[in-house]
Symmetry: C2
Subunit: 338 residues, 2 copies
């Protein structure tokens, strides 16, 4: 068991001071006019003992951790884990590490996560805010910490926001079904006052408004199991037998819906047209394949990274802005009337 190596033990070993060693380790030996001989001596020794500096001590001293905290709704949800992965890669390049935490979209969890991250002194926060988190977020911005919100945001907050045009996306999805000839289109979404879900509902209403069709909306609670969602959708279908088209507000609701259709022996594309919000790698493989309103996840991740990096650089030109990205309609078979 190799004993702990510190800058001091190294200094002693090579016969120099800790300062000198520190400078060399940080690659600023040359510009601080440390002799080449000393540099070489230290570097060789470092190599030999396989030294890795104590990031904690460094962070404590400098007040900079090179860690970014990221709140996701659920790290096992494909939408969030794809963004997480993109952000991980992007910030990696900028020399930052990420601390992911799942909130399940619950305020108490989110508060706890932020407390933890604050304790770890993270340099910045990337947050998919839960309802009611505004106060906590305000605290962070007041403390001068870079904050980037994604997927949703509160207009009242002075934060950087990366979202998609949910309203237009949902409208496009509903229109797609109507244009294909489906007449009675329902929406299955979450019980939520959050802007991203509200917008999706509005988009649906916009689309139906154009033909003054009756709106039929099922709102299921957050954090239900797929089985619970499937059950709710089944009941919704049984109560609204004239429905012949369905827009789903999230990826997993679409999955639950497909299960419900299967249970009720409804044939997608024939008995019922389907469009889902959020694409899924598997949608192309379903029979029939499922049309989706795709969020540009890589693009979202890139934007998050870009904003965070400029904010971290304390770029004086940096201002909190809201970036709205477009969704894409990925047309497949489930929205084609057969």
């Amino acid at each position: 068991m190799s004993k702990k190596q510190s800058i001091h033990t190294i200094a002693k070993e090579v016969g120099l001071s800790a300062t000198t060693v520190s400078l060399i380790i940080n690659g600023v030996g040359k510009e601080n006019r440390i002799s080449d001989a000393a540099i070489k001596r230290v570097e060789d020794y470092l190599e030999k003992i396989d030294y890795s500096p104590n990031v904690l001590a460094k962070a404590l001293r400098t007040g900079k951790t090179n860690v970014i905290g990221m709140l996701v709704e659920d790290i096992s949800d494909p939408f969030f884990s794809s963004i997480a992965r993109g952000v991980e890669v992007g910030l990696e390049e900028a020399g930052y590490r990420i601390f992911f935490m799942s909130t399940k979209n619950k305020l108490e969890n989110a508060k706890f996560c932020l407390d933890v991250l604050k304790g770890y002194n993270v340099d910045g926060y990337i947050i998919a805010p839960t309802p009611g988190l505004e106060k906590e977020i305000k605290k962070l911005t007041k403390a001068g910490k870079p904050v980037v919100l994604y997927d949703r945001y509160s207009p009242e907050l002075q934060t950087c926001n990366i979202v998609v045009d949910n309203r237009r996306g949902a409208m496009t999805g509903a229109m797609e079904l109507m244009n294909a000839g489906y007449k009675n289109i329902g929406l299955v979404t979450l019980v939520s006052k959050q802007v991203q879900m509200e917008d999706r509902k509005l988009g649906y209403i916009d689309a139906l408004g154009t033909i003054h069709s009756e709106k039929r909306v099922l709102e299921v609670p957050y954090n239900q199991t797929t089985e619970q969602n499937t059950l709710a959708i089944r009941e919704f279908l049984l109560k609204n037998t004239t429905l012949d088209g369905m827009l789903f507000g999230t990826n997993y609701l679409a999955i639950a819906g497909l299960q419900a259709f299967k249970d009720l022996k409804l044939t997608v594309g024939k008995d019922i047209g389907v469009v889902g919000f959020d694409d899924n790698t598997n949608f192309a493989l379903f029979t029939p394949s499922i049309t989706a309103i795709a969020q540009p996840v890589e693009h979202i991740a890139r934007c998050i990274v870009k904003e965070m990096v400029t904010a971290l650089a304390k770029d004086p030109n940096w201002l909190p802005t809201t970036t709205i990205l477009n969704t894409t309609l990925v047309k497949r078979e489930s929205s084609t009337k057969v």
Copy 2:
């Protein structure tokens, strides 16, 4: 912007010493015979200023970070993100935080990740080892750090390992196809010398050996895109036109395979029987639904947590053990001959 609060500023504010404040913060005021008055005074003040202790300083001082590092192959892969989520929840309860890092199963990435984690002084390591990582892992165990490997392991290492019975699982999958009446069964897997993939191949060979059938194996490289995998599988099918059954070594290979079948207009269940290794929430919804050898992800996560927690507790009875969990055959339509 509320200024930084330290134990000292608090001490000054309430007219006590830093030591006293520290004891109270850590809830050991009573047993150190701090007066109730002092305790109350400090606690009230803490409440008021919304204080959260600097974890870095604490960690630097105590040598304990309460952070566990976890290497996954890819945080956006459903298998890994499910396990990650389970471990996150489990260790959370034990008061630990997790630092996830993706290796893409590349040695250099894994080495880098471990360097980072070492720098952050994490208390323990949960690793899905990449090929060639044995030396680095040995260093960790030598340094007395708890290490739990999962998904695969090296028998030569003195680590705790949590894996599934890949050989038996794969065998069961191949047998399932044969029992359904498929005659010429191929295997699509990864080019890999890692034990979990080798075992799956062996399981396939075991099964076919029983009927002395010809083995046909396609091994694709790691980290290919779905399109590349689909292409490879298509070519494999075109070269082996007698194949009427296919076992897939991983989740995403099965997905690529289904795409290939679709491209070639092969009907699953009729032209070709299919079994995938690793279940997928969507497999039930495919038409026909896809039979899978399911890994018990929640169970794996629980085992990882349990081993890590006992190792962290320095339980003297703790010994490096290898836990082998069983897979389950989830029988669906794709392995039923029509």
